[in-house]
């Protein structure tokens, strides 16, 4: 089965610092990938490169077999390559219902309409509410985002991404800052997403990674160290070395 | 001075409340000009002139109490001027509108004067056409062609053949440029170059260097006052322009008092044409200057005398009409009025309702350690030449 997202020889450096070196990965449809590695390994940079927030110095990015290297971030999202942010990047003064409805309106290209009230678009609102409800945000969907507890804001990050109908979802530390007992819930929500969606997530909690990911990519110093099933990764001596000798436990 | 203003304004408010009761015994005058912003000093001086006249002649004329209602126009804003004029007439029930420091404001208010048939005294705005906009308007300042054509004629007469003109790039400047060039060329001179500097320009070195490079006999400069004259004076000195070889001439604003203080000896020898200066030698003016200094601790200028003579027209016209404030009656009374002003003899042209006066040619000289504009030539009873050329209606 051909990969839904593939990178070929991605390179990126800032001055003399190489943050991405010859990165080639291929994600098949519906797989749950974890991207791990010590701090500064280039994980977030890789997501930025794939989603078009950074321009690579060299290499290619393919989505569904099409070269999307030259496309802007918006166009990549429209084609189904969507991300979330490690640090909440939400709309503080919109409520979740408005934020998700906004995303759906943009997706459906009705966001240009300025003569009909938003409330006329019942289908969009229903869909927005459906997504929020599936992420347990239904009861709070009319409260301003900035007033929501942190954990619910993390869920809203995912809700916004889902509202774009992604093929590939790149989650940058979705549970960052969430207490452990809640992060488990959050990941349950992630794994129960539709099997049509390919998920790649960055996570530091190894227990969660090994429990939830079907495959794992290990990055070190801007390059891919190895890629494999959780069993293969946990057995690999190089990974042990990186983690025992590295900065992160 | 400040307290006087506030007091006056408070009084005005109180009177407003009891207006209907006193309507018969007061003459209300809406004073519309800039009391704040870039042109605030103009308003201050006009207002000082008016107040001095009222102090000297009492605030009652023809049995009626004269009451000023000042309104701040805040700069170039004809829309505001028009509204203030409307409000003054409609709300405050004033009998006449006076003041007007800037041409666009005067033009806009003139519409209201014409429509409401109210007497209007333009005490400053100097563009020629203004008085044609309302048949109820007189002017007590001067017109740009009146001064600058006189200057152009005089410059040629004094021996200059090649002139360079440098004017502020907005309409009054353009008018001054046109007037000077017209008269200078008509007399037989040649304009070898001209430039217009940006309205807000404050550094004139580049312009004057350019003028100097063309070595004209005379450099004509038009400035609207403010900080620019001093800056020009300094730039002339810095560029090393020799005033014996190249005359620097302009309308009176170029050598205002503050300008002379700022430029110091650099200003010596500048020649200007104007209708008034506090150094004008006459008994009437000596007293005026002394009283003015006693009252406001500074010298009067052309704005002050515009306000002073404006009040004179108002008082005399009211005397003639015996207190009748009807626009037609007042304008009829004002037409042809002639009197001795601090600036010398002046009159209101019965045809155009515009000012007729002497234009003095003055040179900056040091008198008793002080820089003064010393009159050394004059043109008598000059009418606005622009209107003289206009086809008779």
């Amino acid at each position: 089965m051909s990969p839904v997202l593939e990178t070929r020889g991605l390179d990126k450096s800032f001055g003399s610092l190489a943050v991405a070196r010859n990165i080639g990965i291929a994600l098949p449809r519906g797989v749950r990938y974890a991207l791990i590695g010590p701090n500064g390994a280039g994980k977030t940079t890789l997501i930025n490169l794939m989603t078009g927030m950074l321009h690579p110095d060299g290499g290619q990015i393919m989505l569904d077999g099409e070269d999307i290297t030259a496309l802007g971030p918006e166009e990549r999202v429209r084609r189904g390559l969507v991300r979330t942010f490690q640090i909440n990047s939400l709309f503080p003064h919109l409520n979740p219902l408005e934020a998700v409805t906004l995303t759906i309106c943009e997706r459906e290209r009705i966001a240009r309409t300025w003569w009909r009230p938003t409330s006329d678009y019942r289908a969009a609102i229903d869909e927005a509410y459906g997504i929020l409800d599936s992420l347990m945000l239904g009861p709070v969907c009319t409260r301003e985002t900035r007033e929501l507890p942190y954990g619910q804001q993390r869920l809203l990050e995912i809700a916004l991404a889902l509202a774009t109908r992604p093929k590939v979802l790149l989650l940058d530390e979705p549970a960052a800052g969430v207490p452990r007992e809640e992060s488990s819930e959050l990941f349950t929500a992630i794994t129960s997403l539709s099997q049509d969606i390919t998920v790649l997530f960055i996570e530091h909690d190894m227990e969660l990674v090994f429990r939830l990911a079907s495959r794992i990519i290990v990055m070190v110093g801007g390059g891919i160290l190895l890629e494999g099933t959780p069993e293969e990764i946990s057995a690999d001596p190089r990974v042990r070395e990186v983690y025992l000798g590295g900065a992160h436990g | 001075m400040h307290r006087a203003m506030t007091g006056l304004a408070c009084l005005a408010t109180i009177f407003l409340a009891t207006a209907s009761a006193n309507a018969q015994s007061t003459v209300k005058i809406g004073v519309i000009m800039s009391y704040s912003g870039q042109f605030a000093d103009t308003g201050t001086q006009i207002s000082n002139g008016m107040k001095l006249y009222m102090k000297e002649h009492g605030d009652t004329v023809a049995g009626k109490k004269v009451e000023l209602m000042p309104k701040d126009n805040g700069g170039i804003a004809p829309d505001v001027a028009k509204r203030l004029a409307q409000e003054a007439i409609v709300r405050d029930k004033v009998d006449m509108i006076v003041g007007f420091d800037l041409t666009p404001n005067a033009l806009a208010a003139a519409d209201v004067s014409a429509q409401a048939k109210k007497f209007m005294v333009n005490m400053n705005a100097a563009t020629s056409i203004i008085t044609t906009k309302s048949p109820y308007m007189v002017r007590t300042s001067f017109t740009v062609p009146q001064v600058n054509e006189s200057l152009g004629t005089w410059a040629y007469k004094s021996g200059a053949r090649k002139a360079y003109t440098l004017v502020s790039d907005f309409s009054p400047g353009h008018d001054g440029e046109q007037a000077f060039q017209r008269a200078f060329k008509e007399a037989g001179g040649e304009i070898i170059g001209s430039a217009r500097y940006p309205v807000a320009n404050l550094d004139f070195t580049a312009f004057l260097q350019r003028a100097k490079d063309m070595s004209p006999d005379v450099i004509y400069i038009w400035v609207p006052g403010g900080p620019q004259p001093a800056a020009i004076g300094k730039a002339v000195a810095e560029r090393g322009i020799d005033l014996n070889k190249t005359k620097v001439v302009g309308q009176g604003e170029l050598t205002f008092d503050e300008a002379l203080k700022g430029m110091g000896d650099a200003g010596l020898g500048f020649i200007t044409a104007f209708h008034y200066d506090h150094n004008h030698q006459s008994a009437k003016n000596k007293k005026f200057v002394a009283d003015y200094n006693a009252e406001f601790k500074r010298n009067p200028d052309m704005f002050s005398v515009g306000g002073y003579d404006g009040m004179h027209v108002i008082y005399e016209a009211l005397k003639k009409t015996k207190g009748d404030t009807d626009g037609d009656a007042l304008i009829a009374a004002a037409k042809g009025m002639a009197w001795e002003s601090p600036r010398g003899p002046m009159s209101i042209d019965p045809e155009t309702r515009d000012v007729v006066q002497n234009i003095y040619i003055r040179r900056v000289e040091k008198v008793g350690g002080q820089l003064l504009n010393v009159e050394f030539d004059k043109l008598d009873n000059v009418k606005d030449p622009f209107k003289a050329r206009m086809p008779k209606q």
Binding site: - | D203, Q209, P227, K234, G240, G262, G264, R298
Partner: protein, 287 residues
């Protein structure tokens, strides 16, 4: 041709120096605390009036008034900072705009009340007037003085920021405020001092500007636009950028007026727009 070019460059440079002194404080404080201080030129005006008062009322020599202009502006600015500005560091920049424009209004009215609306005259000492001729180029003595003075001040400023502990703290705070706080730097304190310094420089600029551009109560508003232009073109928090922008704008303004008098007034805006389109964060801007 060559001499006129040199003359224009010289005059433009002198004008640029004036703009630099008036603007540099705003650039640093804006870069450091993100505080939008539209009242910056008010401090320039305070410096100007300090000089005028000392010279005309007490007969001080011009040069002796300059330090007082600096100190007066700096001290008054500290009072404003402590009593009002600091409450708004975390407020929206629109609120900051409103507060500082309110201050400008108040200061304009106060100046008009105390000094009247009249243009303030200042008579320079003889040795600063007139001009010198060097190789066919006429140089105004005051402009030479202005350039030397401003260069010395900027030299001092750069040295203070580069080589002192306080300077290092300020640079750290401009670069990354959060990090600087984390390192235990008293950012608020450093800011207060920087703010006073910047306002003092504006005061100095205001005093030096009287002879070239005059002084009346509208100074606080009239020069705001030029200062904003210089700050934006230079890049926030960059002294070098502010210097470069001030010189560039001063020279292009002067050259525009000399060589293309018909479009002289467009020049400064035109240069600014093109520059910002090319480099939206200013000449040496980082963001």
């Amino acid at each position: 041709m060559m001499t006129s070019l040199l003359g224009v460059l010289f005059d433009g440079f002198a004008y640029g120096m004036l703009l630099f002194l008036l603007s540099v404080g705003l650039s640093v404080t804006l870069g450091m605390m993100n505080f939008v201080n539209l009242a910056h030129c008010t401090f320039g005006m305070i410096g100007g009036y300090a000089t005028v008062t000392l010279m005309n009322a007490w007969g001080w020599p011009f040069l002796a008034t300059l330090p007082v202009a600096f100190i007066a502006a700096a001290m008054i600015s500290v009072v404003f900072e402590r009593t009002m500005f600091r409450r708004l560091y975390r407020a929206s920049d629109l609120d900051q705009c409103l507060l500082t424009i309110g201050l400008v209004f108040v200061s304009v009215a106060t100046a008009a009340f105390i000094y009247g609306t009249i243009q303030q005259p200042v008579q320079l000492p003889g040795y600063l007037r007139g001009s010198v001729h060097i190789g066919g180029v006429t140089l105004g003595v005051y402009r030479v003085f202005l350039i030397v003075f401003a260069l010395a001040v900027s030299g001092l400023l750069v040295a203070a920021l580069e080589f002192t502990r306080f300077g290092a703290q300020v640079r750290a705070a401009v670069d990354n405020q959060r990090m600087a706080r984390g390192l235990g730097i008293n950012v608020d304190g450093a800011f207060a001092i920087t703010f006073a310094l910047g306002s003092g420089l504006a005061g100095l600029g205001g005093a030096l500007a009287i002879d070239i551009v005059g002084l009346d109560p509208s100074f606080a508003l009239a020069y705001l636009v030029y200062v904003l232009i210089v700050v934006a073109c230079g890049g926030l928090g960059s002294i070098g950028g502010t210097f470069a922008a001030a010189v560039l704008l001063g020279i292009s303004d002067m050259a525009g007026k000399y060589y293309f008098p018909a479009i002289g007034s467009f020049m400064i805006y035109f240069v600014m727009i093109s520059l910002l389109m090319w480099r939206p964060s200013g000449i040496f801007g980082r963001r």
